[in-house]
Subunit: 527 residues, 2 copies
């Protein structure tokens, strides 16, 4: 499949007029063809105009038609074949197995959202039937459903070139909600983005949808992204990336004449608590699991375990010994971009130069560009509590062990944490009482709490929460992974005394779509 | 019942140390005793400390205990008896019948939220059971529930001294969600606020809840409200009031180191569309209904019909004639405060002085202070489209008729509107096609769409949406009236592989609470 380096605006492919971006193979620092000339404000304008034009029609597509569209996107992505994996490998330095798995996740995610669309739970249908006889006033007929917010801007992430990018979770959930999507491609993988973008474009066409349902823009600076967020026709945005980048765009979204929801998934250091009995009985096993999780994808996961908290003592010492040995054997891995590599180096260097931080171990060095040499560090709870900068995320394989004097200091550290995507407890039955003390704190801090697992696996399911209090995300009431992500792009509308001829299908008396409904406050059985 | 003029901080009553507020009877401009000395930042600090202390325990009260608490508040409010109605009448100028009805609504609302708490839909329980045999990777056990966001600041509204004030919809829904509440009383009705506040305080005590579950603060300036919104222990806020006041506090909430959700219900002019057949066949009846809705509570409803849109012609002329006659007969009514009266006078004066606006009629004048003399105005669609200021809410009995040249201009006016709480269609069967054209536009503009009703009635039900796109509210994804309001104060938490001993009751295998659950993506039948 030949890449053209064009923007995709509706069904057209357009050559940009602004400064070009070129992908770079991070493993070799070699540039990859073609160049992607950046879009202009006029291109943003056109994409938004098309999206707006498509909105009213797309948001009222039948559940079946919308589900088939999502499934067609998945089919089209699979139809690209090996070209997609090869281009993504070249652009990201990620290994083939990871990208093949990620493609499976991406297509599975699209197909899962198709199921979600068909089931229609997201419509949150509520019917309060009229009570004409009620005293002192008759009750009107009220029916509620959820409708799509409007066109959505999606900012592709660097670390998942498929699952969190052009047709990733944000796009899938926005399309499922009935929102047209305009993607600003991440500049690190434009070729991968074009391939996936063309797959979506094809699906729009073969499903006979209005072309504005999807556009894909490239741009080297911040201009395109800012113009997108500021366009009055954009009604929400999804972003996965750095705290600084996310915060800047979020402020822009809030400062609009009509502010809009901006869902940024930003930074998390994912604390892991090693409770005494677990540490004492299987410290070694935990240490191996920890290092494996830390090294996964060179630590370039939002959920990488960047903080380990435990009480001091021989069990912790022995855990550290094993973790040190394991880490020292870690092969270096190519990071996603030279920018991420440089930020990682700076983060590591801050830790190594920190007076109260001790270096436990480094992984192996590499001899190709942008290689992540894993790092494990340690500090005391009192020092951690005294220095906010020790909570800063170091994106990449880097973790900090916090040695606590006792259980109360462990709780203090937990209470001191900023908002997180995840919190993990390594525990045995004998640790239940300690865990019970920590749990209320962790519930206030994190979107997902796990026991005896590692945070780097994020299942795409119905109960998943990939979210959490600020600064993990900009909106703790939501998730960016899992089927509940669709709710980010919806709002309720109430219909009062509408004649049957005007009622949306979802709200009709005989429930023609077979939806789960709250009828007069009672959950009805689903057919 | 003797009023003391004290702040209520947890179970204590404290005399403020700052500038005092004194209620004024708007019908006489006479001051009402006692004075309410304002709270200091130290008082905010104490209320927040208590709320924070109460939070973890209150949010885990059993569904039954929390429901009983809400019901006890309702009982305690009723137990105040006539004193409450009399004080509220003196402080607001509202008639007895209205306040008696509002008390019924307020207590009914608390009892409805008690039912909501018991039913537990708001927990949004989702269970994805483990699949240990899944290939290539086993699936973990994931369970989701919603938990309370944290202590909530509530700003009482001026126009509903009971239903949107100390124990109104924001407080009831936040308490239902498991959030402690700190109310900043509206300065227009401090005595009513104290009475209700003491009722809540008693309920906290008799239900053996931690005292920080509820506090009530008074303050003359903006300092108390700002300090509340900025306190790091406050995790959300609810506000009903002006666009300027709401926007200012909202910006403050967004600018915090940890931004928080700020639910402001602000301004809406509630367009009413008179479709041709309805106007032709029952224009007179519609005119009477319109003026009755406009005059309700001197127009001091968020949902007052401030805009009427119709095609020009004899039917509209005749509607206007009837509306003029009806309005001219309207008795003047005391407005809630002199501040609201002055703002109303300014709004009216802007309209009367507007070159493209024609005065149709004014209601009767009054001879006591702060009397609202209703106003009805008219302009042409082209002039309305050309001047944004004509969309500004005039809080009080004031409405603007927009004369359109044809159906396409009606649609243009609809498309030009800012976000609204409501949109109304007056229509007959013969208008269905026109209505069908307007509906998608109105869905994008308003939280509630009604047919052949008037927007001033807002039912407290499960399907109600009292919300809408900006500037009607700060968050179109929510409602401030009705049981779905509880969702504003919740966030999802996912529990992965938690041992049974640690799982919250709501998430246990055998569903001990009998909740509606999404099990592996399927809605289970409720027991």
């Amino acid at each position: 499949m030949t890449l053209t380096g064009e923007l995709l605006i509706g069904q057209r492919a357009v050559t940009g007029t602004q400064a070009a971006i070129e992908a770079v193979n991070p493993a070799t620092d070699e540039k990859l063809e073609p160049a992607y000339a950046g879009g202009s404000k006029a291109d943003v304008e056109q994409a938004c105009a098309l999206a707006w034009e498509a909105f009213d029609s797309y948001r009222e597509t039948s559940l079946e038609a919308r589900a088939i569209f999502l499934e067609t996107i998945a089919d089209e992505i699979e139809a690209i074949g090996d070209d997609l994996i090869e281009r993504a490998m070249a652009e990201t330095g990620l290994p083939q197995a990871r990208l093949t798995g990620e493609r499976g996740r991406t297509c599975g995610q699209l197909r899962l959202f198709a199921k979600v669309v068909r089931a229609g739970e997201w419509l949150d249908v509520r019917i309060d039937p009229a009570q004409p006889e009620r005293q002192p006033m008759p009750r009107v007929d009220l029916r509620q459903r959820h409708i799509a917010l409007g066109p959505v801007a999606v900012f592709g992430a660097s670390n998942f070139p498929l699952a969190f990018s052009v047709a990733g979770g944000d796009t899938a959930s926005a399309l499922a909600a009935g929102c047209p999507v305009i993607v600003k491609a991440h500049s690190a993988h434009p070729g991968t983005s074009e391939l996936v973008g063309r797959a979506v474009q094809k699906a729009v066409k073969s499903c006979n949808l209005p072309e504005g349902v999807f556009s894909l823009l490239f741009g080297s600076g911040r201009e395109i992204g800012q113009a997108l967020v500021l366009d009055p026709r954009i009604k929400a945005a999804g972003f996965t990336g750095s705290r600084s980048g996310g915060t800047a765009l979020w402020k822009l979204a809030q400062g609009r004449p009509e502010p809009i929801p901006f869902y940024a998934e930003m930074s998390s250091i994912n604390p892991v608590f090693l409770l005494p009995s677990a540490l004492g009985t299987r410290g070694e096993e935990i240490a191996w699991g920890f290092i494996a999780s830390l090294n996964m994808g060179a630590g370039q996961f939002c959920t990488s375990p960047g903080l380990v908290i435990a009480e001091k003592g021989p069990a912790l010492d022995s855990f550290i010994q094993t973790a040190r040995d394991a880490l020292q054997e870690s092969a270096s891995q190519t990071m996603l971009t030279s920018g991420i590599f440089e930020a990682y180096q700076q983060g590591i260097s801050k830790l190594t130069q920190h007076g109260q931080v001790q270096e436990i171990a480094r992984g192996k060095t590499g001899d190709t560009p942008n290689q992540c040499q894993a790092g494990l560090f340690m500090t005391k709870a009192a020092d951690f509590l005294a220095d906010e900068t020790l909570q800063e995320e170091v994106f990449g394989s880097s973790s900090l062990i916090i040695e606590c004097a006792n259980a109360s200091e462990v709780a203090q550290v937990a209470e001191h944490l900023e908002g997180q995507l995840t919190a993990t407890l390594q525990m045995e039955d004998a640790d239940v009482d300690v865990a019970r003390q920590l749990l209320p704190i962790l519930e206030r801090k994190a979107g997902r709490i796990m026991v005896n697992g590692w945070p780097t696996g994020v299942e795409v399911g119905h109960a998943m929460v990939h979210g959490g209090p600020f600064p993990a995300t900009s909106d703790s009431r939501t998730t960016s992974v899992g089927t509940a992500a669709v709710y980010r792009f919806l709002r309720p509308v109430c219909y009062q005394d509408l004649p049957a001829a005007l009622l949306p299908e979802a709200l009709k008396d005989n429930n023609p779509l077979g939806l789960s409904r709250l009828y007069d406050g009672q959950r009805e059985a689903v057919r």
